[in-house]
């Protein structure tokens, strides 16, 4: 709930209002609504339309209370809706608990709400957790006067799909408009609206425009009746059969609190948790609906080793540990590629494994295009720092987005920015190739920038009075900025000169934790620079080893190159999709070229298919762990399901290390956490910045701009077909000139190949084309080329 009664220190400065509710004196901050003030004295006034994060409407009238004294000595002549009325000094309020007038008013409303309700609780998904049902049971009439007088209910055809995922049962709807208000106020996707009028009023869509919002599932959760259901969960279980466990969403770097409902060892659904500091009460549809990937048919369940005939065969855990250790020992120089989805504890294990068991700094979590500039930036500017928080976004005067499309890449940031901009507190400026729908919904200002020119655009912010970048600003740089030379350096410079806060927003849940854990060639855990002898000694001491490798490691691209050059023989790969990497073909070649590959994976993949040893790892539902948000905020979670055979990466790495004759010093998440705690953050010098000069590297030709849409072909959305059906279709965004010349279907050809997709007009430069990174085929990196590279366009019919 949003009411804070004020801590003792705040109480003095907050304007408090004194009133009496049901005979109990209470003091609450000025402007508190009665319905929430009543909660302070322990009275829950029933409500349907009210929601603390939505603007008050007073539509359902369920929360009527009697006010014998409005604070001016005079009564309100009629019961008042407590969800719209702010407290007043000296006010006297009587709720249903003490006032027969309020009680009768509420009973009357409840009766009205039920006359047209189908009362189909036994077959309704909401049955058992339904505010309407609960309220009817506790305050409703036993017998219906409506049916006693021959009343005829309003009926509608049973549920209609308002998207591939969301179904609407209009008969159950009490027209509280929480869903339509959420869509308009919070998500900015007003694709559902109230239609018709009076008793025929209903929620609906325009038939050609389904409710395809990245946040649509929140409407199901806040629906106070069973009117909105998901195709994914409908008729699957009863709430009283479910066990609920809190957790943290694994699909982005936002760290959203979720609630996982499970039954007999199986996740049945996921809901948003409530964390005012992070995601408030909202999550993305991906966080809500994308979890069946963990139950996919290709899920690995036992270790495998490659047999003499070249095929993989099942193996026992001890055998697999032994084979892996032997293979790595024989391979000579080995390297570690972790991907960005590991928990901080697992990342810590990979980091230590590389240094202690393999004796190398060749480790990188960045399974994506990267740069040396970024490597340096992460060490000098990101690790150990809390650059900005969600609250900072809300209070900032200006937020600059560079290389970041929050709606697609960081949903909770998008919603928080929307909240801030709607409250007229914050202005958003985006350095991007075109004005996205997401930016429009933030009322943001575009600095149209061709890929490659981001650094110059960032530098221009400073001299530009209009943008007003100062210490009340926040600059959010996305991980994509890594490939724009000089851009991260320029962002640092702007932040330093203006006093603005600077935060790095990666795409994946494990990215920031991996930085903290030292899954980088230049960083040890806790921000210890590899290049700093004191830092190495400090880490070695904690770990009880004589020393750590001194040579700076190779980054992911260099590791791939080194394998292909025969300089590195062994690879430990945990959760990397080759098609996500900067050069998928090179990565695949490296897998073939490597003398020994150990794969830690959840499901069969292009890596496991060629690996020499394959270890199944636990999905997040089966293990405890910590994700670190883009803010640097740790988000620990415990295992949701208890599956003894499902081992976290760190347990497997410990097993291999032991076979290699070293010990990681932990076998469980708890032990790893204890060691991380013991090690703590580095309190010595940070790695020195190595700025890269800003320069225009954009090509005179047509440049490829891209990012991943939230819903796309990502493997963690596998098995959630209803969700995928709500994804935005892949289109090439081109200028009107290009469209007129080449549309409506365009072939984009890069150095790695071509894709043909429908074209859509955007306010974008003639020499830039935008494509979604992973919405067709194997994705752009595999099939077209790198972001920012030169491509050619032609009409598909030519």
């Amino acid at each position: 709930m949003t009411v804070s009664t004020g801590s003792t220190t705040e109480a003095a400065t907050t304007d408090l209002v004194n009133l009496t509710i049901d005979g109990i004196a209470v003091s609450v901050p000025k402007d508190t609504l009665l319905i929430r003030a009543a909660e302070q004295v322990g009275v829950q006034i029933p409500r349907f339309c009210d929601h603390p994060l939505l603007a008050p409407v007073g539509a359902c009238r369920q929360c009527l209370v009697d006010i014998p004294d409005a604070g001016n000595g005079r009564p309100f002549p009629k019961p008042q809706a407590s969800c719209t009325l702010p407290v007043a000094e000296g006010m006297v309020v009587n709720t249903q608990a003490t006032s027969p007038v309020a009680d009768k008013a509420q009973q009357g409303i409840m009766e009205f709400l039920l006359i047209n309700h189908p009362l189909d609780c036994p077959v309704c998904d909401k049955g058992g957790e339904c505010p309407l049902q609960n309220q009817a049971m506790s305050n409703g009439r036993g017998e219906s006067r409506f049916s006693a007088t021959g009343g005829v209910k309003r009926t509608f055809p049973k549920p209609i799909s308002i998207s591939a995922q969301v179904l609407l049962d209009r008969e159950r709807c009490v027209l509280c408009a929480r869903c339509t208000r959420f869509s308009e106020e919070i998500a900015g996707d007003p694709f559902i609206a109230l239609l018709e009028r009076g008793a025929l009023q209903q929620v609906g869509i325009y038939e050609k425009e389904p409710f395809e919002s990245y946040f649509s599932g929140n409407t199901i959760q806040i629906c106070p009746v069973g009117a909105l259901t998901s195709a994914e969960y409908r008729f699957r279980s009863r709430p009283f059969d479910l066990v609920s466990s809190p957790s943290v969403a694994e699909h982005d770097a936002c760290g959203s609190a979720i609630r996982v409902d499970h039954r007999r060892g199986k996740v049945m659904r996921r809901l948003s948790g409530n964390d005012p500091e992070v995601n408030e009460e909202w999550i993305t549809d991906k966080d809500r609906f994308a979890f069946h990937y963990a139950d996919a048919a290709d899920r690995l369940t036992y270790p495998q080793v490659r047999d003499d005939d070249g095929s993989l065969r099942p193996a026992s855990w001890p055998e697999a540990f032994a084979v892996a250790a032997r293979g790595l020992a024989e391979a000579g120089a080995s390297a570690v590629l972790t991907g960005g989805r590991v928990t901080a504890e697992d990342a810590f294990a990979y980091s230590k494994f590389a240094r202690v068991a393999l004796g190398t700094n060749d480790i990188d979590f960045r399974a994506r295009p990267l740069s040396a500039e970024e490597t340096s930036f992460l060490a000098s500017e990101v690790v150990l720092r809390q650059g900005a928080t969600y609250s900072d976004l809300e209070s900032a005067a200006t937020v600059v987005l560079a290389g970041l499309e929050p709606e697609d890449e960081a949903g909770a940031i998008f919603l928080r920015l929307r909240k801030a901009t709607r409250a007229s507190r914050t202005r958003v400026i985006s350095i991007a190739p075109f004005e996205s729908r997401g930016l429009q919904k933030l009322g943001g200002q575009l600095i149209a920038t061709k890929p490659g020119r981001e650094a110059l655009a960032l530098q221009d912010l400073l001299g530009h009075g209009d943008y007003g970048i100062d210490s009340s600003s926040v600059i959010l740089v996305g991980e994509r900025l890594a490939t724009a030379p000089g851009a991260l350096s320029a962002a640092v410079e702007v932040a330093r000169k203006s006093g603005a806060k600077l935060a790095w927003v990666p795409r994946r849940a494990g990215d920031r934790g991996a930085v903290e854990a030292g899954c980088l060639p230049n960083l040890l855990p806790g921000g210890r620079p590899v290049a700093d002898a004191a830092a190495r000694v400090d880490a070695a001491t904690t770990w009880g080893v004589s020393g750590l490798p001194e040579t700076a490691g190779r980054d992911a691209d260099q590791i791939v190159a080194a394998v292909n050059a025969g300089q590195v023989g062994g690879l430990v790969v945990g959760g990397v999709d080759p098609d996500d990497t900067a050069d998928p073909a090179a990565f695949r070649a490296a897998l073939d070229r490597a003398s020994f590959v150990v794969a830690l994976e959840l499901r069969e993949s292009d890596v496991t298919r060629v690996a020499d040893v394959v270890f199944p790892v636990a999905p997040v539902s089966d293990k405890a762990g910590t994700f670190v948000t883009w803010e640097g905020r740790p988000r620990p979670f415990e295992a949701v399901l208890s599956v003894p055979s499902s081992l976290p990466d760190l347990r497997i790495l410990a097993g291999i290390a032991e076979e290699l004759g070293t010990s990681l010093g932990f076998r469980t998440v708890a032990e790893a956490r204890a060691q991380m705690e013991e090690m703590g953050p580095w309190d010595g010098e940070r790695a020195a910045p190595e700025p890269v000069q800003a320069h225009d590297v954009s090509d005179p030709g047509v440049t490829l701009a891209t990012w991943k849409q939230m819903l796309d072909n990502g493997r963690m959305q596998d098995g959630d077909d209803n969700l995928r059906a709500t994804a935005r279709v892949a289109v090439a965004r081109v200028s009107a000139n290009v469209y007129d010349a080449l549309g409506p279907s365009i072939t984009v050809t890069g150095e790695r190949g071509s894709v043909t997709v429908p074209a859509a007009i955007a306010e974008i430069a003639d020499d830039v084309v935008w494509l979604p990174a992973n919405s067709s085929g194997r994705g752009l990196l595999a099939e077209v080329g790198l972001p920012g590279s030169t491509v050619t366009l032609k009409g598909a019919d030519e």
Binding site: R61, T149, E196, A199
Partner: protein, 436 residues
């Protein structure tokens, strides 16, 4: 002593081409505007306050006071919106006024906008009155051409634009915040108050919303002075107003009289109840005002007088029904109207009117029991005063008042097994034959 009838707004209605600017100006029209432009805006507000003019759209809120709520230190633009969405059943005064004398409204709009320092005004006319819309559109165009509207009106430095806006069929848009929603291109559902329109109305800017007749009364107040206006009417209900008599009187029509005239006087003026019949029940101010009967013929028709007998003056829409009319049928039909016009926003109105119609329909068909009357009254109790806006209070009014005065007639439907009345007997053509 004031005369029985005091035609001011209606006075020109029998003029040749009364709706045109020349006709209006030939009678001194736009003289008040010139006078007003020479006054301080605050003085105009003061004059309207002093006149005692109360809102003619039904609620009777003092017009000058409403104007004075506009925060003049608010930097946002101010707006005047004329509520010409006349839709309350029985109400039929603004429509003939705008058809015959649109310029008095336009002149009133200019003076009122000047008083509240608005540079943009809107006239929101219900869409279902095409010819009235034509007349107001034309009047506004003529006023522009004559320099009464536009930039630097008559060299005063004051600018005003007026937009004539056609509604599209929604009774609820007569509610001022629902009207604003309609004017903003949205569903006409009432808004939460506060903030009140005077602070955050159209486009969240300070806005005055006044009824047609209220605004049209302003030129006469400026022209003749507030004392002149206040010399008519009663102590707390000053001035003149248009009284609309309809139904079973010999000569239905419009009667512009000082507030406080009685129905007995008005029926006399209208030639009495139609031949051979007697008054049975009537509405003082539209269907949302509780019914009255022949007991109330001498109640002064002013805000206090009608309130004193448990009803409301409303829009002075006097619908007269004689003894041939079935009160249950009348009530059912009104209830169906409220159900049809309920905007759907709040539960008691949306669901309550749905249910009321069902119970009343059964009673009208003679089905049910006497306890259904108590059920109806209990439903009304759960609707009235519990809803978001006053529409539902209006829905309850005819039911509550008809049961109060005609409980026996409801019961007669049950004992008779249906309606005991002959609907043909109450038609206009039952006795007089077709009117050509």
């Amino acid at each position: 002593m004031t005369d029985t009838l005091t035609p001011v707004l209606t006075d020109s209605w029998d003029t040749e081409r009364a709706w045109t600017l020349p006709a209006y100006e030939s009678r001194g029209g736009y003289g008040a505007l010139r006078k007003a432009l020479g006054m301080e805006p605050g003085a105009i507000v003061e004059a309207v306050k002093e006149s005692g003019l109360r809102g003619r759209g039904g609620a009777g809120f003092p017009t000058g006071m409403k104007w004075s709520f506009i925060p003049q230190d608010n930097p946002k633009p101010k707006y005047l919106v004329v509520n010409a969405d006349e839709s309350e059943p029985g109400t039929c005064k603004d429509i003939p006024l705008m058809m015959a004398n649109p310029h008095v409204l336009v002149e009133g709009v200019i003076i009122s906008s000047f008083a509240i320092r608005a540079n943009k005004a809107f006239i929101y006319i219900r869409g279902e009155v095409l010819h009235v819309i034509r007349r107001v559109q034309a009047a506004v165009a003529e006023a522009y051409a004559a320099g009464h509207l536009g930039q630097d009106i008559h060299g005063s430095g004051y600018d005003l634009d007026v937009i004539v806006h056609a509604g599209a069929g929604a009774y609820i848009c007569g509610e001022e915040t629902a009207l604003l929603e309609g004017l903003e291109g949205r569903r006409g559902q009432p808004r939460l108050r506060p903030p009140f329109p005077a602070v955050a109305g159209l486009y969240a800017s300070p806005t005055v919303i006044n009824n047609v007749e209220s605004i049209a009364s302003v030129p006469s107040i400026i022209e003749h002075g507030h004392e002149w206006f206040a010399s008519m009417g009663t102590e707390k209900s000053k001035g003149y107003g248009i009284f609309s008599l309809s139904g079973h009187v010999a000569n239905p029509g419009q009667f512009e009289a000082p507030l406080g005239i009685t129905l007995r006087e008005l029926i006399d003026l209208a030639g009495g109840i139609r031949d051979g019949h007697q008054l049975k029940f009537w509405t003082p101010g539209g269907s949302s005002t509780p019914l009255l009967t022949d007991e109330h013929l001498d109640v002064p028709l002013d805000f206090e007088g009608v309130a004193g007998v448990g009803s409301m003056l409303g829009t002075r829409a006097l619908q007269i029904f004689d003894e041939t009319t079935c009160v249950v049928r009348a009530t059912l039909r009104w209830t169906e109207f409220y159900k049809h016009e309920s905007c759907g926003k709040c539960t008691p109105c949306r669901e309550g009117t749905w249910w009321l119609v069902q119970v009343l329909s059964r009673l009208e068909q003679g089905v049910g029991s006497e306890s259904d009357l108590d059920l109806l009254l209990d439903q009304c109790d759960n609707i009235a005063g519990r809803s978001f806006c006053a529409l539902a209070d209006g829905a309850a009014a005819p039911i509550q008042s008809s049961i109060k005065f005609f409980r026996d007639e409801y019961i007669a439907h049950l004992t008779h097994g249906g309606c005991p009345f002959d609907p043909a007997a109450s038609t206009l053509f039952a006795t007089s034959g077709a009117l050509a």
